[in-house]
Symmetry: C2
Amino acid sequence: MSANSKPMRERMEAFILELQEEIITALENVDPNAPKFLRDRYERENNTGYGISGVFSVPVGEDGLAPAIDTVLEKGGVNISVVNGHLSQAAVQQMRAEHASLPPPPEGGLPFFAAGLSLVIHPRNPHAPTSHANWRYFEVMEPGDSENPKTLAWWFGGGSDLTPFYLYEEDAVHFHKTMKDASDPFGTQVYPAFKKWCDEYFYITHRKETRGIGGLFWDDFTDAPHKSLSESEKRPRSIEEIFAYVQALGRTFVPAYVPILAKRCKQPSTPRERRWQLIRRGRYAEFNLMIDRGTKFGLMAPHARIESILMSLPETARWEYMSDMGTDPESPEGKLMAVVKVPREWV
Amino acid sequence: MSANSKPMRERMEAFILELQEEIITALENVDPNAPKFLRDRYERENNTGYGISGVFSVPVGEDGLAPAIDTVLEKGGVNISVVNGHLSQAAVQQMRAEHASLPPPPEGGLPFFAAGLSLVIHPRNPHAPTSHANWRYFEVMEPGDSENPKTLAWWFGGGSDLTPFYLYEEDAVHFHKTMKDASDPFGTQVYPAFKKWCDEYFYITHRKETRGIGGLFWDDFTDAPHKSLSESEKRPRSIEEIFAYVQALGRTFVPAYVPILAKRCKQPSTPRERRWQLIRRGRYAEFNLMIDRGTKFGLMAPHARIESILMSLPETARWEYMSDMGTDPESPEGKLMAVVKVPREWV
């Protein structure tokens, strides 16, 4: 039996298991003296799947909130989850608005499968950007107890994005260029379409600013015509091509992000820069708690594992009333604000 | 012209202006060497009203994030806003679900008036509780340019609640008893009804816990029958009686909260207790950003003043993955968790 004859459910699960280790190992290698990521496997209730949280944290020291040892990362998570669940008729009906490939649901609802890797990395140094990525596969199956149920609908989603506190243009260019280079072989329309979507998705409505300097974001990626892509140009079209795209982009995370982390993590920084980092982390928390659909969906799901979902939050965030930081356009903080107020084309 | 012959709009505005000064002065008196609250008046666009934010903050020191001077409060706001606005037909239609006194709206929508005081006090000492309160009046008027338009519908809302980090039963009892004593002359059914509503409102759904140890909460308080109150028992029934209740409860904030603050603010504390305070402040931020209807409504409103709305957020919040703090029921942190998991009757 060749790999390709296995159901996509199994192939995606195998891919994210492998990718999780690859990413964690690359992050651990940046800081060999730091504690290793904690691999925390948990089983979901009623035999509905499992998750493996890969968590980085440092115990606080005896005499305060400062970490017991100095580390490159402050907090991080590289998590996978593999879920076999059931969607009610109403839930399927609601999902059809965004996922046209879903059939009208029968009264008893439909079984689903979801597998994804989700990561957030919060480095300690204010010159090193926070990063986030997620790749996921969703499938809705025929009802029944079959070992290998028929697929009724499927899609992939994913993306990766960067949230710097201080703008280093070369870092932004490197991050975007690495992803564009990985994306272009699948059709040159793909990078600009998903880059735009990323700027739109990571938008903090009430602040009128993006969370960071973007990256790629896509959802509802199937073999059907896609609202963000032209059918007359090259694009990943079959499930094989789309899975190849997801794998290529997933494997691009390490070369896109880790060199930036390695370069910035030892740069000298001031308490004022730390303060700005914490204020921006407040905005990060606002986005994740108020706006992110993934967080909302996750928390509403039955048997939601709160700790894994909210692991994306920074260890510390700060809110100042009418802060003066970032208001002077000539300041380093103001230079970041310019690019979160008006997204830029980096490549 | 006697005070009572003035429209309630003006009387409520005068009340909250007075109460704002009373509360700010009482808080300033607890810590005479601290910077004074900054009274920050702003005008709303297009002649639609104004606000006065009363803000407490301490500049950070030169060499880090520690405050330049030690103060009782870490962050606080005692804000009023007075708004003359316009509700679209659709907005009125939506509000009718919760406010039965609203008439079916005409095509052009309806003018409204809203006046309220909203406060959040975050003390520095982990043994001193955070407190929040809000009193507001809302009125929908006949369309037209009249100087003194006819009132079509009106209601009051409000409440005050306490969020300790460490449980001192005598503080919880004092807070609740002071409010019960102020409430009882208006009918003994009122305190238990609004205490229950408070426990239900300040509930962090995904954490399955309340934000703190509660207090009072009420909304849609008019002269019509109220879903939380029995018509056969004594209750504030006329607009005069309800306004008297709102004033009595507003004036109860200082005696309910300030003695607790004064008692706890000098108590010795450890870095571990500070850490727990910051973790609980993370939960506070989760409630305010994800669940609080007032925040959501405020941020969606046209010309929303973000800085005033999000001033409720703590200066610093902390999120740990699977924190061990609070898990041991015999620990001081665990004793707090017991009362946020199962609300208690304090008086």
